[in-house]
């Protein structure tokens, strides 16, 4: 980073802080508000399920593909869920083509964690022949436009796409992708992620890009429909206090409920 960039970054941070001090955010929202949310499913017919999610200007596309594979040796009667996210250079002038960097990997793993630990799928129902043949459920999520808070957008898109998915026809162990059945995936839970950014002493829900750029720390909660927690990830070199975390947890339970309202479940 050149000295000039350094100075610019400071100016940005000071501006954002000044607005926060007057109890507002740069885009006019309250501290505890999500931006406008849109969920559109069934957008990619080639996928078994798909969903386009917009949170403000952040836009991600998730697709579900199924295939047949062998189970892991220690879970012979379970299928598998494989979640990937890619920070496509489409989405931002800052994302570079090439193998995934640590941010991309963290995002993918944290979204995967909420879905996996939140037991979104009943994996035993994905077993075809014990020890031999199971369904593999791939969820691939592409960021199309990055304006902050990819965690919540990706997790919401993944869940929406899983809900949208239908099994393809299976004929003598060959998957007939052209023919979708009406059978849905065995959805067991509805875990979603809710993310906050901390800037100086202020904590805001659903940070936009400019807020993420200057934030000290970030925290993401994975919340299930019963209000229990299935994942947490703190990021950034800043810190949280114990009380902040407990307060945010309670808030996240409410916000997860709000997010679920976009899924018609």
């Amino acid at each position: 980073m050149r000295p000039r960039d350094e100075i610019l970054a400071n100016i940005k941070r000071n501006f954002i802080l000044e607005v926060l001090r007057s109890n507002k955010r740069i885009d006019g929202r309250g501290f505890n508000d999500y931006r406008k949310i849109e969920v559109k499913t069934g957008v990619i017919k080639k996928a078994e399920g798909s969903a386009l999610v917009r949170i403000g200007n952040t836009e991600v596309l998730a697709g579900v593909k199924l295939s047949i594979g062998t189970p892991y040796p220690d879970t012979p009667n379970e299928g598998a869920l494989i979640v990937n996210t890619e920070l496509v250079p489409l989405a931002s002038a800052m994302f570079e083509p090439g193998p995934p960097d640590e941010n991309s990997i963290e995002l993918a793993r944290v979204v995967d964690r909420a879905l996996r630990e939140g037991e979104v799928l009943d994996l035993e129902k994905l077993c075809i022949v014990e020890g031999e043949k199971v369904w593999l459920v791939y969820v691939d999520i592409y960021s199309l436009n990055y304006d902050g808070n990819l965690f919540d957008a990706c997790c919401l898109a993944a869940l929406a796409a899983l809900l949208d998915a239908r099994f393809p026809k299976l004929e003598d162990d060959r998957v007939i992708y052209e023919e979708k059945t009406s059978v849905r995936l065995p959805i067991k839970n509805y875990p979603l992620e809710v993310t906050y950014a901390k800037i100086d002493e202020y904590i805001v829900l659903d940070p936009c890009y400019e807020e993420e750029e200057v934030m000290d720390a970030r925290i993401t909660f994975g919340i299930k429909q019963d209000g229990s927690i299935c994942a947490i990830q703190k990021g950034g070199r800043g810190s949280f206090k114990r009380e902040e975390i407990l307060k945010l947890y309670d808030n996240a339970v409410e916000k997860a409920k709000y997010l679920r309202s976009f899924l018609n479940i």
């Binding site: 957008v43 990619i44 017919k45 080639k46 996928a47 798909s50 200007n57 836009e59 596309l61 697709g63 579900v64 593909k65 295939s67 990937n84 890619e86 496509v88 250079p89 489409l90 989405a91 931002s92 002038a93 083509p97 193998p99 791939y138 691939d140 592409y142 199309l144 436009n145 990055y146 304006d147 998957v175 992708y177 052209e178």
Partner: protein
């Protein structure tokens, strides 16, 4: 022998998707669909869904790759894992590297690169759903996104494929025809001058078939060109002409 090949792909002059031999699939185009990109476009062409973003002209790092006399144009074509029947492994493969190259070369023909020395213009093309003919669709989307980014060009690049299916020359092959047909001939042109800036072919055609298919592909590209201009007009109105 290829499993899954339909017995016949043209029945009573109609193709499996109901089109006539020389008919284009439905095409929808929109520019300015991505907030962060300097220019962007979204294209639906039959079952193809393609998103394109242009970043730049911007500084190039490392600097020794920059050129003192013109901009570098970079192009990355890639397919979403779920854009095809069986999940595609993520990451670039040899096919997408070749396609990125020929698409870039077609675009280099029209962009006034000498206006932006020392910079780079990045064109990112993501195939969200594929249905045959993605390279032509990608070129069409890319030249719209470049125009949307306000980058001066001598013209848009328009493109369309023709090919041979069940022994007949047809326009704009869709996936099944692409997979099981006898030949595919994607063509990209500069409509104002008639120059051919992308030309590939694989399959088998006689001299007569080739001439007919080339003619047909060019006529298809010219129709696509009209749609491109319309899409830009929808966003920019009359001002677009001046902008260019």
């Amino acid at each position: 022998m290829k499993l899954g090949k339909p017995e016949r792909m043209i029945i009573n002059g109609r193709r499996l998707d109901g089109r006539g031999l020389y008919e284009l699939r439905p095409i929808k185009m929109k520019v300015g669909v991505l907030k962060n990109a300097d220019g962007s476009s979204y294209l639906e062409w039959g079952g193809n869904k393609i998103l394109c973003a242009v970043h730049g002209p911007r500084e190039l790092h490392p600097k020794h790759l920059a050129r003192p006399d013109k901009a570098i144009l970079r192009c990355i074509y890639s397919m979403a894992t779920f854009s095809v029947k069986e999940r595609k492994k993520p990451g670039p493969d040899r096919r997408s590297i070749e396609l990125s190259k020929v698409i870039r070369e077609a675009l280099e023909n029209v962009v006034f690169l000498h206006l932006f020395p020392q910079t780079v213009i990045d064109v990112y093309i993501k195939v969200l759903q594929s249905d045959g003919g993605t390279r032509c669709a990608s070129i069409v989307a890319a030249s719209l996104a470049l125009a949307d980014a306000g980058i001066p060009m001598k013209d848009l690049v328009a493109a369309c494929a023709a090919g041979k299916v069940d022994g007949q020359i047809v326009l704009d092959l869709f996936e099944i025809e692409d997979n099981y047909g006898e030949a595919d001939l994607p063509v990209a042109i500069v409509p104002k001058t008639g120059e051919i800036v992308l030309l590939q072919m694989d399959g088998n055609m006689t001299r007569e078939e080739f001439e007919k298919a080339l003619e047909l592909a060019i006529s298809g590209a010219l129709k696509v060109y009209e749609l491109q201009k319309k899409a830009l007009y929808e966003k920019y109105g009359a001002s677009y002409e001046t902008k260019r």
